[in-house]
Symmetry: D2
Subunit: 279 residues, 4 copies
């Protein structure tokens, strides 16, 4: 599938500020960036960094007081592979590549250490592998209300589990937490989400199954094959769209993503709210 996507962010810089952006589409074998452009107004240099472990693209801006407009646009082609979910097994911790271990540990927003007893009670008896993660997504969709503005920047999976409401970021944190509590490596993914309404940045998660990372979206808000990855990390702390060290005021942002090949809008979407796309 081919997409055109982007975002426009406006800031008033109030004092000398360093800004770290993570809004550019990630490169990968299933996600080709055909073209892209980052436009800064006023024009100024920026430094680009691709994180080795994750391929996240960070951009650093060193800013003086004044107005700043950031406009990013790209054309991206994704080639999700399709698998039979029934054939995707869980990897026992005894056989996991040790490099994925960090995705089993609790993190700032994914307090898997507190949710272990519940996770085992609720999901312990479900078949291991893709089916278990699908059950987790279904549970989140059915037990947590999607309510814009409900949560805040400090909200953790524990809060969401207790209060039972949140946004895409909270849904992803809870999915990651349950997976880790059950011994399944899981990570957070920030993304452009095709057909997301209203248009905004999106958040989903990946679980490590059968030797690959598979994408899951417990919100059921967009077809998983319509996800264009931006950043990967332990949780939202690793993949903030914008982090600044200094003082700024922000205006409302614009985010967009459109299909370029007239795809069937429901392609790849399933009633179980999961896709079977390898990353």
């Amino acid at each position: 599938m081919r997409f055109t996507l982007g975002c426009e962010l406006d800031y008033t810089i109030l004092q000398p500020t360093t800004m770290i952006l993570n809004i550019e589409a990630m490169r990968g074998s299933q996600q080709l960036v055909l073209s892209e452009r980052l436009e800064l107004t006023p024009s100024l240099p920026s430094e680009r960094h691709e994180a080795k472990e994750t391929s996240n693209l960070y951009r650093r801006l060193v800013l003086q007081p004044g107005q700043l407009r950031i406009r990013y646009e790209a054309e991206v082609q994704t080639s999700p592979k399709t698998f039979d979910p029934a054939g995707i097994p869980e990897v026992p911790v005894a056989e996991l590549p040790l490099a994925v271990l960090p995705y089993l540990y609790p993190s700032r927003y994914c307090v898997s250490d507190k949710l272990g007893r519940y996770a085992w009670r609720e999901f312990g008896d479900i078949a291991r592998g893709h089916e278990k993660v699908t059950a987790i997504c279904n549970w989140i969709f059915e037990h947590v209300d999607y309510i814009g503005g409900f949560s805040h920047s400090g909200t953790s999976a524990e809060d969401t589990f207790t209060e039972r409401a949140g946004v895409c970021r909270d849904f992803a944190h809870l999915g990651v937490s349950f997976c880790r509590a059950l011994g399944i490596p899981a990570r957070f993914v920030s993304a452009y989400g095709w057909q997301l309404q209203p248009q905004d940045f999106h958040a989903v998660f990946e679980a490590y199954l059968g030797g690959r990372w598979y994408l899951f979206d417990a919100t059921r808000l967009c077809p998983v094959d319509g996800i264009v990855r931006i950043g990967i990390g332990r949780d939202a702390a690793d993949t903030a769209f914008v982090t600044f060290y200094g003082q700024v005021e922000s205006a409302p942002k614009t985010v967009w993503i459109e299909s370029l090949d007239g795809a069937d809008p429901q392609l790849g979407w399933t009633t179980e709210a999961v896709s079977v796309s390898e990353v």
Copy 2:
């Protein structure tokens, strides 16, 4: 300095269990492992993994029910360099290597996002760099009571900040949190700590200053030059001595570290509870 060190851990394995150990001394230019031995009783194979990003040595054991004794012993030579603290500056975020950025983000136990306002009020006016981190260590030593058994496995830096008591792990988490809140990359270090009383694993932290990582110990419980690193991570979640997936019972552990060159016990220790040793 040369040290002989080690630990002995005893477990009763109750069901098939996978265990991840992180108890072996790390290798580095200032820390040479002259000899070492990991003895498992009963004898069984183990898989060793050195994490790329951190050089942490993980060891995986796949265990059947029964007794297990783990005994690790090593001879290690450390060569801490000495610097003039006054000459160690802070690196502005605008100039930080982007690879250290993750050590600015909040993590499971280091909730730097909640402590920013306090950190800036308390430490904002102190000279940037080594002096500021020293001030943080002094603050922790003076404001937090070291009380064995006070905290538990879920205790975060926020809890320690509020309740004002904890153990070495809590002291390190709070130091890391303050640094990150102030824009100084910081990470958690698990270690063997020479002269620590009673003997146990120890925890300290490192801050990224002047282009290197420097070690700090806010507990003032052992000379920083007597620290032999085991693991490095965002916080204790990354560097657990033992993690198991299964069910085990543990007996009391033994940990030891002795100097082999009759060093002056106070070598490198300073009244400010900081050392100036590059990692």
Copy 3:
């Protein structure tokens, strides 16, 4: 039913200390104190206070450094009334006596404000009244593991809801929290619990239904008709057995309660873990 009950508490007073006790059996129409004795060794005066709102009996001791033994023993007759649970309705907030309103508010350990969304999802469709509170007790019994030593003095109903384990006090806090979240006044009760194993102080809760307070015990650890009330309050903060202002060391305590009329040990116990005893 007639019971003989009591407790023995031993302290080393380390500095001048004021101690507030709440260990004496409450008086009420269904709970007669036939005889009782509070013995302090060494002998010293104490001041007794019956709280108007709750009838809790507080005892204040002003202590100098040294040893202190507190021994309380009483003979108590309870006359629980029996009702048909099906006939016990809920009182709409529109008709509640306004004096019970405080038992609808969140308190230190009963954070009903955070559990509202879950409570309505889970219990909203169950018939109002006794049946709903019974459903709450059954839920707690089935979803929370009773594990001695799991929780600590700061554990709230939110922690117990997330971590799914605790002791009698945590079970009662969670029951109270769900009731309040659903508009049912509820309060915490400290008690002597006949047949509780091992013998210790017990904690249960009461819900206001059909114009009276009814007792519930989600732990199913003792027959509800075997409960002898000590203190009533918003939560455990109001009914601590011992509070001290000063510094003391405590030795293990002894608590006992025996039946004097050879009652059938299962009297009044129901499979739903609730009794239908009016206070």
Copy 4:
């Protein structure tokens, strides 16, 4: 001093709802209500309840779907007494009236049990009594930023202590918590606050000293002699202006209080942010 004061609240009732109001000025020997009027549009009956323990005036409305306007206005005369702060001692727990004990216990938003170690470190050496509570108020004013909208309905004194920002309610919760942690009974007061900018309901607190309750306002936002009490309680959970059981939408509220006797606006205000007005 004589004040005219009141508020106007507008709601859309979406389903049958019971509403509890606590907006009417409290009666007391130092606070006379000369006249008052509660106007409901459309007109409907309401039930009034004066809580015995606190004298809080609660009003219950049983509402059908539709619009509702609540307008309260009153003329109130306050007669604050003036004392010499230096002469106001602390009452040792050994001598406290036992009826005030509940104001020593932790409550939903005043988690004094977690702040004890800090409170004793910071305020332990300050002279007991009025001077100590004044020091607490000064500490709050100097260490916590008053930022409208910073906190939310679940914010506790622990959050405010960590994050160091909040509104009047948070300032009062923190003041109450420190007092209780130090053995000084303290309670939360909702109020009309003369000269508060922008006009809104206000929150302050009272500490029990020398046998009476004294008012303190750590925000320094209005002269303490310009406080007209509405409700008293353990914390904001007891004194919500409006609680509803049902579903409503609320429009922005209006609150006002004006002096009727041309008083010097600074009357009773002190640089220590405390007044010495007995309740």
